[in-house]
């Protein structure tokens, strides 16, 4: 017979608390259960579905957001932990133009196919370039070593990040050959 936890009564589960943070530049408040991850809060309560759930255990980086300016796995945080923080998602970064050059390079080189890993890639790439303005290809691969992509094989993504870095440094880059 499989075991039942007789002490557990989900009837009293899920007390709701109110969390407040600055989300994509806007003061936001949201009612969550403590067990709701930041990922679930963003996707379900706040309906910002650009941040994706690939594994819910921190192994794929599809769920990256910026928390107080640093890339974090939103599946590895509960929303309550983010109370008072500053959060930026792919939607906010896209609308503000902060990653426009990265997006343009990704687009130009087809550094995405199904697009599911892409928000996480962009956020990680954005953080890399903010810390290292001229990363080598190996450094780019290392920085993206936790971002799982099944479609591209990674090379076009590395090309795109390298190209964006070069453009920011003022150089021109060779476009993908026709």
């Amino acid at each position: 017979m499989s075991e039942i936890d007789t002490s557990f009564d989900p009837g009293d589960a899920d007390e709701v608390v109110r969390v407040r943070f600055v989300l994509n530049g806007c003061k936001t408040s949201c009612a969550v259960a403590p067990r709701d991850t930041l990922l679930d809060c963003l996707r379900n309560s706040l309906e910002l579905t650009g941040t994706h759930a690939g594994c819910e255990m921190g192994a794929c980086a599809a769920c990256l957001v910026l928390l107080d300016g640093r890339a974090v796995h939103s599946c590895l945080m509960f929303a309550v932990q983010a109370d008072g923080a500053r959060i930026e998602t792919i939607e906010g970064l896209s609308e503000s133009g902060a990653i426009a050059d990265l997006q343009a390079e990704f687009h130009r080189r087809n550094a995405l196919q199904c697009g599911f890993c892409t928000p996480g890639m962009l956020i990680n790439a954005h953080e890399l370039l903010s810390q290292n303005a001229a990363p080598s290809r190996a450094e780019i691969r290392d920085a993206l070593s936790g971002n799982y992509c099944r479609c591209t094989g990674y090379e076009a993504i590395v090309d795109a990040v390298a190209a964006a870095a070069a453009r920011r440094a003022g150089g021109k880059t060779k476009d993908h050959a026709s």
Binding site: P10, S94, H107, D142, G153
Partner: protein, 791 residues
């Protein structure tokens, strides 16, 4: 009658151009619309209680405590869903003698793999449903689990299906004749047994489905993360007894599929049933742990191969025996035997030898079901063939490139049928071989390898030739009775403002289907690509068709779009001719303008034709009926498959003290016929190669003795990540098919077909000085060190 294809000089000539995908911008902005993102009013969430046992009888199920949980709307078991869903059986008529157990969404009596869904809870949130699952008690009586391939084949072995006679799902033999003679007169015979680890696709977006049944409209709407909404429209209609026209299946953005999302999954059928029972939308998303024990597995093969050759290295014959382990039943509707069938038919395909014999055994196991996953069967066939060629080369002291040059089919030998019955229209093996040798700087790599060996640095160089099956005709599924279409349809409209809407039955999973369709339509109609909108993935919007799989999107879908566009163009020019008082043949379309065919002088905007046709039909000659919407279907004719070919090379470094392998670079020369968008083709190849590299070095579903999947998490099943993957150099040969105007073949699976074969050969090349060899993938450090005798 067939107009020549555009040259790259013409304006709007998109065919052959690397233009970025219009659809990709919104994905880059986080505006993808995946099934996992969809929220419908009053939607509920399903979760499944799964069997911990690989094989067991269900003695009893107690759901009362789960039913009582606040927020739970329904708890259902096998009997509840069997009332509304008819069983399905994963067999096809053209696989003679194959057997498989009928399946229901949830089991009635017996569980047949660890991870099988047994009970379902539908609640207001996924978290609440999982809470309720913990309160369900299932009483199992364990039965012997069939988990070892050899044990499963022994007479008297415990049976996966106790009512059956054996654990054999399907057997097949091929014999082209002359094999025994060839081996008898052979100067050399090389023999090897190769093992291939079981894989699972690991799409980043897991399986997801939302079913919504409106009893008053009698309408079922399913938002399904699938490659093939048409197949599912048909399936749901038949198995749930809902008229086809009242079933709508919508496949929005799909976060990766690679064949995995073609198949019927018990949970998906259950969710449709739950929606019918509850009359509210029900959503299920497989979490990552569930994905590992329920997504299809693939590629679990053991192949014993023998090759006969003469003194000079001419291959005389091959004889192979493939035993493959599937799940407890054959997958529906595409079966679990296609992979093995392709393995035995593809072995040796690039080569001239004519004597070939093969035996296939497909064996049930109490494990996750297996079916088509990217490059179905090709990786195994290619690895067997190419490894045998390297063994042959060593035996007669020939270089791997030389022995292949000697034995590959000549580029002028076509048309040609393989000993296994595959018909080749025209391939380019020899040219690709020469190109690869140059591209890799093979001679330079060999010189460097020799020099580095003196310093204890061990590089390996491996190559692998391959063919790839694309653009399948009904020979694939239709002949077996499957309601899987091999034709496509497109509905093309010129809109009032002069834009074009194309609703077409091939589907998009990120490979760029919509992009290449828009390129073809824009090219053929003489419009800018941005004025062509492509709609896919909705059975209510597009004609019924084959969708995307087996690399049919470009070749078949593209041809459909091309032919439809030509019909629409003719209709536009017919109206234009009336308006301009010219002959249609004197006109053409360029840059959105009607032009003189001869002088290219602009006469009238296409948008004007549209305006007149839609709003001022009174100004057209009486009796004129403008047909600015066309529907056109195309079914492949001619060759049953459009074969492509190519060759890959791998350069790696092996640390002989640790067994660790560093991939330095990978090379691909690929011939996929006419290329519509070179950038998209190259990216398909790269993605495919990396999946093959993951297979070669990292990926493996490991089962324990009791049938538990031991490494079913993303931390333990190792998928290829950026740091370990090489840059991939690509070159192309283009041999168009004459079966279509477009001449395009497919390319989506080629990268995966040969990558692992290449790596296997490269590792064995690196190990050669040590007299060590590897005959199994994945090539793990443990396997390398064992081969080297380091522990």
């Amino acid at each position: 009658m067939i107009a020549p294809l555009t040259s790259l000089d013409r304006p709007n000539s998109y065919i052959g151009r690397s233009v970025p995908r219009p659809n990709a911008k919104r994905l880059l902005a986080g505006r993808g619309h995946y099934v996992t993102d969809i929220k419908l009013p009053r939607m509920l969430h399903a979760a499944f209680l799964r069997s911990p046992h690989a094989h067991a009888r269900i003695a009893s199920i107690d759901v009362e405590r789960a039913r009582a949980v606040d927020g739970v709307h329904l708890v259902a078991t096998g009997g509840d869903l069997a009332k509304i869903c008819t069983p399905w059986t994963g067999t096809l008529d053209h696989f003679k003698g194959m057997i498989s157990e009928p399946q229901l969404p949830l089991p009635l009596e017996r569980v047949v793999w660890a991870g099988q869904a047994v009970v379902t809870v539908v609640a207001e949130s996924r978290a609440r449903a999982e809470d309720a699952l913990e309160l369900i008690a299932v009483d199992y009586e364990e039965l012997p689990a069939v988990v070892d391939l050899d044990e499963a084949r022994k007479p008297g072995a415990p049976l996966v299906n106790p009512a059956g006679h054996s654990n054999v799902c399907f057997r097949s033999q091929l014999d082209s004749g002359g094999v025994d003679d060839a081996f008898a007169r052979a100067a050399h015979v090389v023999e090897e047994e190769l093992s291939f680890g079981r894989h699972t696709p690991v799409t980043l977006e897991p399986r997801a489905i939302i079913a919504d049944y409106d009893p008053d409209a009698g309408m079922l709407t399913v938002h399904h993360g699938t490659q093939t909404p048409y197949q599912f429209q048909d399936l749901y209609s038949r198995h749930f007894g809902i008229p086809e026209a009242r079933v709508r299946v919508i496949a929005p953005d799909i976060g990766g599929s690679f064949g995995m999302k073609l198949h019927v999954y018990h949970e998906d059928m259950a969710v449709v049933g739950l929606a019918i029972l509850l009359r509210r939308p029900v959503k299920f998303v497989a979490d990552r742990m569930e994905s590992f024990v329920s997504d299809i597995h693939a590629r679990d093969h053991r192949v014993r191969a023998r090759m006969a050759l003469d003194e000079s290295g001419e291959i005389l014959a091959m004889d192979v025996h493939d035993v493959t382990a599937i799940g407890a039943f054959s997958t529906y509707p595409r079966t679990s035997v296609v992979e093995g069938n392709q393995v035995i038919r593809l072995i040796g395909a690039p080569y001239r030898f004519r004597s070939y014999r093969a035996a296939l055994e497909v064996i049930f196991q109490n494990k996750v079901q297996t079916s088509q996953y990217r490059a179905v069967g090709h990786p195994i066939a290619c690895a067997v063939t190419e490894r045998m060629f390297d063994l042959a080369a060593m035996r007669v002291g020939r270089d791997p490139f030389e022995i292949r040059a000697q034995n590959l089919i000549a580029d002028d030998a076509y048309p040609l049928a393989s000993p296994t019955g595959y018909k080749f229209e025209a391939l380019s093996h020899q040219l690709c071989l020469r190109r690869l040798r140059d591209m890799m700087n093979y001679d330079g790599l060999r010189t460097e390898q020799a020099a580095l060996r003196e310093h204890g640095i061990h590089r390996g160089i491996g190559i692998a030739s391959f063919v790839e099956i694309t653009n399948p005709s009904p020979a694939f599924y239709g002949v077996g009775g499957a309601r899987i279409s091999s034709q496509d349809g497109a509905t093309l409209s010129l809109t009032p403002s002069g834009e074009v809407r194309c609703a077409i039955s091939v589907t998009e999973q990120g490979q760029g289907t919509e992009a290449i369709v828009s390129q073809i339509v824009a090219d053929q109609l003489g419009l800018a690509q941005e004025h062509v909108k492509v709609l896919t993935g909705d059975t209510e919007v597009t004609p019924h068709g084959g969708a995307t799989w087996a690399c049919r999107g470009a070749g078949i879908g593209g041809e459909t779009a091309l032919q439809a566009a030509r019909v629409l163009k003719a209709n536009i020019l017919e109206i234009a001719a009336l308006v301009l008082q010219e002959q249609p043949s004197a006109l053409d379309i360029e840059g959105g303008e009607i032009v003189d065919a001869a002088t290219r002088q602009q006469r009238l905007a296409v948008a004007e034709i549209a305006r007149i046709a839609y709003f001022r039909s009174d100004t057209l000659p009486p009796g004129t009926q403008a047909q600015l919407t066309v529907s056109h279907h195309f079914a492949p004719q001619g060759y049953p498959f459009a074969f492509t070919n190519g060759i890959q090379g791998c350069h790696l470094e092996l640390d002989v003290e640790t067994g660790f392998i560093r991939l330095l670079k990978h090379f691909v020369v690929e011939d996929c016929g006419r290329i519509i968008n070179p950038m998209l083709v190259d990216e398909q190849l790269r993605g495919g190669v990396v999946q093959g590299l993951g297979a070669a070095l990292l990926e493996e579903c490991r089962y324990g003795e009791t049938g538990q999947l031991l490494n079913g998490s993303l931390a333990d099943y190792l998928v290829p990540m950026a740091m370990e993957m090489p840059d991939i150099v690509i070159d192309h040969v283009e041999t168009p098919t004459k079966d279509t105007v477009l001449g395009a073949k497919g390319c989506g699976e080629a990268g995966t077909a040969a990558a692992s074969a290449c790596v296997l050969n490269a590792v064995n090349d690196a190990l050669a000085p040590f007299g060590a060899a590897i005959n199994a993938i994945p090539i793990t450090p443990a396997r390398v060190l064992k081969a080297l005798g380091r522990f």
